[in-house]
Assembly symmetry: C2
Amino acid sequence: MLLHLVPRWSARLFGASPGWRRYTRGASARLKGLGCPRGTSSRLACTAYSTVAGSPEVMLTPERYPVERLPFSTVSEEDLAAFECIIPGRVITDPEQVQTCNVDWLKTVRGSSTVLLRPQTSEEVSQILRHCYKRNLAVNPQGGNTGMVGGSVPVFDEVILSTALMNRVISFHDVSGILVCQAGCVLEELSRYVQERDFIMPLDLGAKGSCHIGGNVATNAGGLRFLRYGSLRGTVLGLEVVLADGTILNCLTSLRKDNTGYDLKQMFIGSEGTLGVITAVSIVCPPRPKAVNVAFLGRSAGCPGFTEVLQTFRTCKGMLGEILSAFEFMDAECMQLVGQHLHLTNPVRAVTSSTQEEPSLSGDQEERGSNSESPFYVLVETSGSSAGHDAEKLTSVLEQVLNSGLVTDGTMATDQRKVQMLWALRERITEALSRDGYVFKYDLSLPVERLYDLVTDLRTRLGPRAKHVVGYGHLGDGNLHLNVTAEAFSQELLGALEPYVYAWTAEQRGSVSAEHGLGFKKKNVLGYSKPPVAVKLMQQLKAMLDPKGILNPYKTLPAQA
Amino acid sequence: MLLHLVPRWSARLFGASPGWRRYTRGASARLKGLGCPRGTSSRLACTAYSTVAGSPEVMLTPERYPVERLPFSTVSEEDLAAFECIIPGRVITDPEQVQTCNVDWLKTVRGSSTVLLRPQTSEEVSQILRHCYKRNLAVNPQGGNTGMVGGSVPVFDEVILSTALMNRVISFHDVSGILVCQAGCVLEELSRYVQERDFIMPLDLGAKGSCHIGGNVATNAGGLRFLRYGSLRGTVLGLEVVLADGTILNCLTSLRKDNTGYDLKQMFIGSEGTLGVITAVSIVCPPRPKAVNVAFLGRSAGCPGFTEVLQTFRTCKGMLGEILSAFEFMDAECMQLVGQHLHLTNPVRAVTSSTQEEPSLSGDQEERGSNSESPFYVLVETSGSSAGHDAEKLTSVLEQVLNSGLVTDGTMATDQRKVQMLWALRERITEALSRDGYVFKYDLSLPVERLYDLVTDLRTRLGPRAKHVVGYGHLGDGNLHLNVTAEAFSQELLGALEPYVYAWTAEQRGSVSAEHGLGFKKKNVLGYSKPPVAVKLMQQLKAMLDPKGILNPYKTLPAQA
């Protein structure tokens, strides 16, 4: 497949169609490596932060947040000896190695654990937990350490139980697409594995290069394919979980339908390691789409903006139907940040007449559009089984949104490299933000109609106290990622943000954590989205499954009065 | 749209294509009433069985099955007065009216309740349960009473708590397709309601004319759209549940993503009324497909059979991709029974040259095919957003399966009435079976490769003791409905079937209840699909949520030692 620069398209060609159709046929797009690294996801690996983690710039969690250590035991020499018996050579106490796993990748929280355990089997996890349970030692289960809410690192001196060496594929069924693997398999590696067998993973996210499938399940990760393939609650068919006392719960079936008793695995999906340690996952993978198209669309400055984004979404949903696989949006400040910090080029703004291979697409405002910022950008992806049919459907949509003025500029890609270039703009926003300073992150579910109002509201509210207030996310799922950057962490700015953001969300009957979970940083805001009866029931469930509370303490649930 | 008889198609036209293509364009199939009554599902209504229920032919459950009444209180005059205070005029004690709700629609189990309560609101359900909890009265929550495993009727004298009057739509969002409604809404009525707004329900099943959405959720119903729209675990967004002690748990959110704490609603999905009474449901509905096509395919007798059915499935999955919405199979005995008891015509066998409007489709074996039985029949449905594209894809598939000899005969429908006629053949099998005598029903998940082996195995094993041994079901989900009919219930035949069928299934690591649940009749076979650790955990969950065990006792979980 030839490497093309991302082309820009002429509105007039759009209307007339033949040029367009010729292009889409030519790029019939049997993508060979759809899930290859996008962005710099591999940077997220825990070890990449060793220097950062070791530096004094990340405050110890209890120094920044009001939290008291619970009366767990502390790790003794005898404990270390016992661990060494269970997993010889895989008990890590070297301070520098342990330190990398004490700090979250956002560099916002830091624990003070002194021991990192790296089991390879469920049986080893079971023995470790049996010991910890008996000894009343707190345990922090850790996957790829890519969480956003401080859930994946210790708060105090919890034993870190890493799934990093539990990275074996157990089985793959090439007719049903059912994959069974250990919890520590890295999502991107699984992606590659199943793609070679003509399937894809039902989830995809920016952190794919580091995150573990067990962590994905434990946090009920949403991500970029949610719109099409739905929740892990539907695609995860079975789990193996080790309970707090070391009991192995084997629900690792590979059946699409199984109504024999209560579906216990659901309790562990999204429980953030507080109810059990997921050690293996059975998940159903969809067939690899034969054709993938990505369109990246924008509007010129001065246009009203978000209303048109919503109308574009409705148009896409109606006309693309079953082939719509993503509808992501980002605002102009996001685009500015990925340009500034990562040197990515805005494909619907730059004039590239000398390099482009295809004529440009832009609407009536082409003249001023070429030098102005779009207030919003939208990434639309289709995945389907017929390149021709899909291109035809997408062409109709693009004609429609362009002719009706919903969009003033756009570009489209069908080959793998261009698709990745466009996706990078969206996927690397998190990384660009983290380079901009300290980031206050909010991950909200809101009614789509009100999705962006909070961003503009906050810009006014915060004024110059914030460096940037940006909004982007999975519009198709009603999921806003609201991020505020500042030179450094500041209690004052935090006070201006919270509980304001949560109360605003609760007023819309939204969720204060759409897909990131509650972890350590959001555990006290659970009550904004769940009634007291529900919180009490969650606490009962926790007490039932982990009566000593040793699993990932200080996380997910608010401290009991 | 004109009414056509179901056409038969010529193999030669298939190969040549123009006739076919002309037809599919003509029938561009914007179905107006896709979910209108199929079959005679309305017959399933509880009240339709009043005469049957009153007759002595249905044995009392404790007379047929070994079960002891637990030490619950019995309903007193004071209890009735208390109920009358909560729901004036809706406390039913008329023996005939109560009796219809004591018997399951299969006429296999019968309870001896003397009181039927018909609340209209969650608050009323809450007050009723608060009273029953205090008084230690057992409660049988009942929806449409269409369950297959005796879960929906009392075993002894449990108070019947019907959701029949809780049938109000609370809200519908016409952009997101999110429906919020009370638990007693009948599935078919909801279907009609959302279709008028250009959406469909994400589930569909034969009992749609009677079953309640609350019952569907409580049993985690699978059904005919599972292959395309997945499990209720993904599509149900929120629930309101009344707990055993009367506490109202409101998790009735309408968010696609909400990772705030544990997902409590999952505990109640599939819990068969044993953990709480579902009183309202929030569910996301997919947009109504613009085009629906159904192909009904068969093979002439003497052809090897099931291997080709599997290959046909693989071909459909690969070539139809995202538009494949159902892949159902039935064997020749099923076809014989729907013909014999319901007078439905086999569309791929009958010669209808005088009435047909389109030439017939059949392969090389047309001559003998016209007078012979196909060993298997397959129903393939596509649902998509472009009639033209979908027809083109289906045509290619049909050409492929016909030319390669996987299929020897077939018919196709695009208009609503023909689609319904074809679906009736599959959907009314249950009804035909119930007219054939006493039915021993098994609903199994098995590896697709072995799916039919058990049927042929049983035919040999049972010999003339069984009237019919038939297999049909949701092949696309690996879900076999295995049914054995006999003149009457017989312990000897039961002994020949069980535990043989369960052991056979367990050996394949299958599920002994794919979608029907365990209810009363299968509760003791849970151990064939779940390990002791899981069963113990289920019992702990039950004890936590319903410490007195008043909710739907004798169901789902085996009696504790």
